[in-house]
């Protein structure tokens, strides 16, 4: 037998098998020897493709693919030129996207129109799981170990306990992920005699703030634009407001917490929203309300920054103000309660 003949014969075998699915049941996931299921058609042409009997249509599809793929190298060249001349985001996206979409569309036409195997029906695998014999086999194998272990119940329990204790030791480093809160949520940078400074670190006199003026202030030496970011204590951010002649509802025990300038009453409240901690940044000078831009909690400044709308349920804490011997605004103490949102151990 010559080599050519030999190979020819093998190829013929293969073609024969492919032509008759019954000879090659694996094709439709039917095990050898298994009866042919009724819901799998026998006469499926697995080599069918859309334009097999339509050379004109096939040629047209081929031309479409050629045109689409022809765009890809053009885009590639454009991208290379773009890179060399310095790049341009819009054009980069345009050429990148066009190239990939053209490549993709060509591939889809190739698969849909010119390649075999559009739709076939086969048997589904793993219907209803394995047979009784296989299932029993699995149980036997599993129980071989389980039964052996169950003979020594103490060892099983001890293993559980040992792993538990060891796991506990492994969990300890979680504690060093962060500092303990301790009293840090109760404290801010404010203290007796701390001067109020603006964002640029300039100390303020009462008359620096015009009527209806609002300014974000910080304790001196705490937050400067020219200091390192890590020095900032965001808990200390405070809004300073000149209420003019509006009637401010002073709460009992807070009579001397405000300062009167030549133009009006100056009050200071924490800028940290008591709901979710966003800076309460929007001030409505007509209604004297502070609004949080995050969730629209609204605080009535004249009523002592009590919440009048939105999800916040606690007033913004007030900062006790005073004026020092040099005429600068100072805080006379820290906030009397924790600023910002609630937390579990807030008392």
């Amino acid at each position: 037998m010559s080599t050519t003949e030999h190979h020819g014969q093998r190829a013929d075998d293969m073609v024969d098998q492919a032509r008759d699915p019954a000879l090659d049941p694996e094709h439709f996931f039917i095990e050898p020897g298994e009866p042919w299921p009724d819901d799998v058609p026998r006469d499926q042409d697995v080599h069918w493709w859309r334009f097999r009997d339509d050379p004109k249509g096939a040629r047209k599809a081929e031309l479409k693919i050629i045109a689409l793929w022809g765009v890809v190298p053009l885009c590639a060249i454009a991208l290379m030129i773009l890179y060399v001349v310095g790049g341009q985001p819009q054009l980069e996206g345009l050429f990148l996207g066009t190239a990939m979409i053209c490549l993709a569309t060509g591939l889809v036409i190739w698969a849909r129109d010119l390649l075999p195997g559009h739709e076939v029906t086969a048997k589904r695998n793993h219907q209803g799981g394995s047979g009784r014999l296989e299932r029993t086999g699995a149980v036997v194998s599993l129980s071989r170990g389980i039964e052996g272990m169950a003979r020594r119940p103490f060892l099983v329990r001890m293993l559980g306990g040992v792993i538990g204790i060891f796991g506990l030791a492994m969990a300890f480093p979680i504690a060093s992920l962060g500092a303990r809160p301790h009293r840090s949520l109760y404290k801010t940078g404010w203290a007796t005699g701390k001067r109020l400074v603006d964002e640029d670190g300039r100390p303020l006199r009462p008359d620096d703030l015009p009527v209806n003026g609002i300014l974000t202030v910080f304790p001196e030496g705490d937050s400067h634009a020219n200091e390192a970011e890590s020095d900032k204590d965001p808990q200390s951010a405070t809004v300073l407001i000149n209420l003019g002649d509006a009637k401010f509802d002073v709460r009992p025990g807070t009579q001397d917490w405000n300062v009167r300038s030549s133009t009006g009453l100056i009050v200071a409240f924490s800028k940290i929203c008591t709901h979710a901690g966003c800076p309460v940044g929007l001030y409505n000078t007509q209604s004297h309300q502070l609004v949080c831009p995050c969730h629209q909690s609204t605080f009535d400044v004249l009523g002592g920054c009590n919440p009048v709308f939105g999800p916040a349920s606690r007033s913004l804490p007030q900062l006790p103000l005073g004026v020092n011997a040099d005429g600068y605004l100072v805080s006379t103490s820290d906030y009397k309660e924790p600023v910002g949102p609630g937390f579990w151990n807030r008392s």
Partner: protein, 528 residues
């Protein structure tokens, strides 16, 4: 080329293929697997493409994310921005910012193709979540989560959660004003958790807010932990789809025991590869042409500043909206308090996801259906399930709307207070209303009769109570006749939701209509 030459060339190619496969098979005995893999069948339906789109978004995210990671510095260290004209964003010149924000500016303005890659990355994340959400809806409404696919549903839901966290952690990395404000809110939500909240928040952030540890930590989880989890879960998701076979919509000739569609080779492989390119291409167009997350406009994060109109990415919107809608309730007693953000920020999403995780079990109870399903439900055939799904989508939509009350207020000239009050009522009323409408619509659609593709072929084989069989003729093929595949497969249907209008059969007389004249219980001696 002559026919002989073509034949010879084909033989030659086959010889090469055989040689290559033989080389592998000699070593790992692979031929059986290779043939099964190449012949594997996936049903063709556009709705099945959405999960694939999600997967390919992830591929795009891996590719673009790697490029971004080369230029990004995960550090909160303070630096001053000194751009040179033409290379950088001049309005921010001289400003203090974190190194994270600084490097994000640099990779947007100085690194070649940096901006387009960053925008493709962000668009891919947004589309990823949208595709997952759509995929989940498809799975829910068509009952694809039913036995035997409950596990894969749970894996998919976990993927949704992890991808949400992955998205949010990535969104927070640039340390711009918008994302920093989002982190401040998240810190408050964590702080509000009873018992452990305060300590948990300090452990996650390393200190009080904002601290300097979070950005490097976010980088580790965004770059390593979550992607690893996603790859693991996605692999399990795909392996189960491969093992169990894909579900399919019912159609003439389709049964629970067969599968129809394209084979992996060459149809499905080429089309799926093309889909990857297509997804990448569309994301590239979006990333190039439509601006997303312009962090240079927001500015660097600064804990005492915030701008109006602070909205997170769309998939976090419903949480932000819930936080806005929850009334000003919090509970204080015995020296402890459960702060307001806990309820909308932890409790409600926790309950929602519990129901979502439990849904396959709930569904099983409602429909008393523990049967094995490969054919999908049409949403109309399970009106209650469809109503629940529509109500849930309405709830998420109202919450998402609520996260934009400030913007909506500006656009509609309605005070944001009124909008919030409307939505506070709407979040209860609208889902119930939408669910009721969906239920009615399903029932009405059932009455319009079966779709043509649902008509059985080859007559209907009926088994009577005494075990005899006979075939129903054409007189029973009239308009409005419904043959439920679920019932046909012995699944049973406690509520009768699966059945449309009367099908003309007397159930007492006819136990089991069998579709397509084919036995549904293979091996039944009466039919074999």
């Amino acid at each position: 080329m002559s026919a002989t030459k073509q034949r010879l060339a084909a033989e030659k190619r086959m010889k090469v293929e055989r040689m290559a496969l033989d080389q592998v098979d000699d070593r790992i005995n692979s031929s059986s697997f290779v043939q099964k893999a190449l012949d594997h069948i996936f049903p063709d339906h556009w709705a099945f493409m959405v999960g694939e789109i999600a997967m390919y978004c992830f591929v795009v995210l891996l590719v673009t994310g790697t490029y971004l990671a080369l230029y990004y510095t995960p550090s909160s260290a303070d630096v001053v921005y000194h751009p040179t004209p033409g290379h950088g964003y001049m309005p921010l010149a001289g400003q203090h910012m974190s190194e994270a924000y600084f490097s994000t500016l640099n990779l947007s303005f100085d690194v070649r193709a940096g901006l387009v890659v960053r925008q493709i990355h962000h668009w891919a994340a947004v589309v990823f979540m949208a595709a997952i959400a759509f995929h989940l809806c498809r799975v829910f409404f068509t009952g694809a989560f039913r036995k035997p696919r409950e596990t894969n549903y749970v894996i998919g839901l976990t993927l949704l959660l992890v991808v949400m966290l992955e998205g949010f952690s990535g969104y927070s990395l640039p340390d711009d004003l918008l994302s920093g404000t989002g982190l401040r809110v998240v810190f408050s939500i964590v702080e509000s958790i009873p018992f452990i909240g305060t300590w948990l928040a300090f452990d996650l952030w390393g200190s009080g807010f904002p601290g300097s540890s979070l950005i490097p930590r976010l980088f580790v989880v965004h770059e390593f932990l979550f992607p690893l989890l996603i790859i693991g879960l996605l692999s399990a998701h795909l392996a189960l789809i491969w093992r169990q076979g894909h579900t399919d919509f019912p159609a003439p000739g389709k049964t629970e025991t067969n599968i129809r569609g394209s084979r992996v080779w060459p149809q499905y492989a080429l089309k799926s590869g093309a889909l990857l390119l297509f997804v990448f291409g569309v994301l590239a167009l979006l990333g190039g042409l439509i601006q997303i997350n312009p962090i240079w406009i927001y500015g660097a994060y600064n804990p005492y500043a915030v701008s109006a109109g602070s909205q997170p990415d769309w998939y976090v919107g419903w949480l932000d909206g819930a936080v806005r809608l929850w009334p000003h309730w919090e509970f204080r007693s015995f020296g402890h308090e459960i702060a307001n953000p806990f309820f909308p920020g932890v409790l409600i999403p926790g309950l929602l996801f519990t129901v979502m995780y439990a849904w396959p079990a709930i569904d099983k109870r409602i429909y008393r259906d523990d049967a094995y399903h490969n054919l999908l439900d049409r949403p109309r055939d399970k009106p209650f399930r469809t109503a629940v799904g529509v109500a849930a989508i309405t709830f998420f939509t109202i919450c998402t709307l609520a996260s934009a009350t400030d913007l909506l207020g500006n656009d509609t000239h309605i005070a944001f207070e009124r909008l919030i009050e409307i939505l506070q009522i709407g979040v209860f009323v609208a889902p119930v209303l939408a669910g009721a409408i969906a239920y009615k619509a399903c029932v009405a659609l059932q009455r319009t009769g079966n779709h043509v593709i649902m008509q059985p072929v080859g007559g209907i084989l009926i088994r009577t109570a005494d075990g005899a069989y006979h075939t129903l003729g054409d007189e029973h093929h009239g308009h409005g006749e419904i043959h439920d595949h679920v019932d046909g497969n012995g699944g049973g249907n406690g509520r009768g939701d699966g059945n449309g209008g009367g099908n003309g059969h007397d159930d007492a007389e006819l136990e089991e209509p069998v579709v397509g004249g084919k036995p549904q219980a293979p091996g039944d001696p009466n039919l074999g």
